[in-house]
């Protein structure tokens, strides 16, 4: 295609964005480079690193050496944390989708004038600090909290539930926190969806569930994939929510990394873990790009 004069001019003007580019490259890749280097150094005695090449951190990610007899075994605690992180992130994605789909559907089917209001309401939680919101959830889930008061008050359960400081608490908290990130892309996809296709489905003998499965879900797939990535990625690296609602006992990768830089005094291990987290996220993103690329090829 022939380039217009404007396009050419815009291309030549890229130098103007140099300051922004520099900042972006330094701010994004700088810390990453430091982390990548630290992961191959030796841990300092109290904190920091000693500039000696070492792969010990990578070994420690999965294995531990007994301090008395020197036998090597799998680091069960680490595996538990990895598994919990992945499992809770996947479950959070699933739950936000389960709640997010009807919500997004509801908003997308409101009259045009009301939609802005509903979308606005969805974004209100972002106005408050994450920590404050997480403490609010804590207040709800506490043994003497609102949830237990209601449930025991209504005689649905005889004893208050111990939800706080369990995986369930972390899951509830993360679902609450990341729900808007699922709702917004789903809404965008449903908003573009041609509702007449539902009638076409019914007309061709598909029942309600079949129309959902064979017509609606495949067509809004880009929104589902985008929402899932937007929820899964930050869930995996979540720090505040598992810290507060998991009470430090139910750690996720984020907390574990923090621990290495703090009380654990093992910066190289923390760096290696951070890189592994980055790798998992990278794989998730590749999946996303693949999924949306095949969508484009189809369309």
């Amino acid at each position: 295609m022939a380039q217009t004069a404007e396009q050419k001019k815009a291309r030549e003007g890229w130098l103007l964005s140099l300051p922004a580019l520099t900042l972006l490259i330094l701010a994004a890749s700088g810390p990453l480079i430091i982390i990548a280097i630290y992961a191959f150094l030796t841990a300092g005695e109290y904190s920091g690193v000693i500039w000696d090449l070492s792969f010990k951190a990578w070994f420690q990610v999965l294995f531990e050496k007994d301090i008395f007899d020197g036998t090597v075994s799998l680091a069960d605690a680490h595996l538990t944390i990895f598994w919990r992180s992945v499992r809770l992130s996947l479950l959070t994605t699933l739950l936000t989708f389960t709640f997010g789909l009807p919500t997004a559907w509801f908003i997308a089917t409101r009259p045009l004038k009301q939609r802005a209001l509903w979308l606005f309401l969805i974004t209100i939680p972002f106005w408050t600090n994450l920590l404050v919101r997480t403490f609010a959830i804590m207040e709800v889930l506490r043994v003497e909290g609102i949830l237990n008061k209601i449930l025991t008050g209504l005689h649905i359960i005889p004893e208050p539930l111990q939800i706080l400081y369990t995986d369930t608490a972390v899951l509830i908290g993360m679902t609450y926190v990341y729900l808007p990130l699922m709702v917004l892309p789903l809404f965008a996809a449903i908003d573009r969806f041609d509702f007449r296709l539902i009638e076409a489905g019914y007309d061709l003998y598909a029942g309600r569930l079949t129309v959902l499965r064979r017509v609606i879900l495949p067509i809004i797939r880009p929104g589902i994939v985008a929402g899932s990535i937007l929820v899964f990625v930050p869930s995996l690296g979540a720090y505040v929510t598992p810290r507060v609602l998991g009470g430090g006992k139910k750690m996720m990768i984020g907390n574990f990394i923090e621990l290495q830089f703090g009380a654990g005094r093992n910066w190289p291990l923390g760096s290696a873990l951070a890189l592994i987290l980055l790798l998992i996220v990278g794989i998730a993103l590749i999946f996303y790009v693949r999924a949306s690329a095949s969508e484009n090829k189809d369309g």
């Binding site: 041609d194 007449r196 296709l197 009638e199 076409a200 489905g201 019914y202 007309d203 061709l204 003998y205 598909a206 029942g207 079949t210 064979r214 017509v215 495949p218 067509i219 189809d298 369309g299």
Partner: protein
Amino acid sequence: MTNNISVDVRSARKVYDATSGTVVALDSVSVQIRKGEFFTLLGPSGCGKTTLLRLIAGFESPTAGEILLNGTDISGKPPFERPVNTVFQSYALFPHLTVRQNISFGLEMLGRPKDEVARKTDEVLELVKMTAMADRKPQQLSGGQQQRVALARALAPEPEVLLLDEPLSALDLKLRKEMQHELKRLQLETGITFIFVTHDQEEALTMSDRVAVMRDGRILQVGNPRDIYTRPVDRFVADFIGETNFLSATIDGKKVRLATGDTVAASGVEAHSEGAAVTLAIRPEQVRVDDKGGLAATVAETVYFGTDTHLHLTLGDGSELVARLQSPPSGEIGLSPGAKVSVSFTEGAVQVLEH
């Protein structure tokens, strides 16, 4: 005889709740559509054609009245339990499926065996001449091709009734003519009852076995195209189906007396009492223009249309009349404004409207 009736609409009424109050989209409509016929709902935009189709398809339920298919009431059934398929005005093809997958969708949903689905799909693809495009996505097709796929998709499950909501309105004139023939051919080949919606009177006349003319949620007249054209029941039908001259007259014995004082022969006189004021409908092509022997008229204007020339005439009492004459080879009709002529009507051309 009810066994040759496919769709029987009995006093169907549909009221929508809109923000601006309620809208009566259909006002007690009754109509019987015969098996295997090409039935057309004709009327201006907003007269309730789509609403009637949607009631038959099951997308809406009637506020009152019932709808029977082959003698059984289907009013309470959801669309996926009715052996009725729709060709949507917007086509509504599934964008994530190929042409072939779109067409086999209905058959799959009916739980037909795989080989039957494949065979039937190929058959229908052939029928609408889209075999070469079978693996394309709908977005890669032109409007006319999408139209064919929509048609094929609705035909594949071999429904009892096919509903078509202005399926040709988005096509350009040439393609529309082509598809009109195509539709007619498909209807004859498959023998399926077609209920076709259009606001184009010519389309309705050329394609249909019978036509129902609708206005404001009511059916004004049902009949075959010739009946509707030659014997419209009222001014609206006469005007909607082609151009018509309307003249006021009074019943005078077996004839009618015009405002000019002349009497002319007319059909439909019996339905009215002596001296009643009535409206006459006369098609422009049935008006003859001579030198003498008829009503005195003055040429007001001549408009050349190619094959035809329209002659706008003024009668003695000032009422206006249009005559459509075949243009002579020279194109010059030889009458200029102000010319005095004599007007008469072809035998049976003057219709007294029922109301």
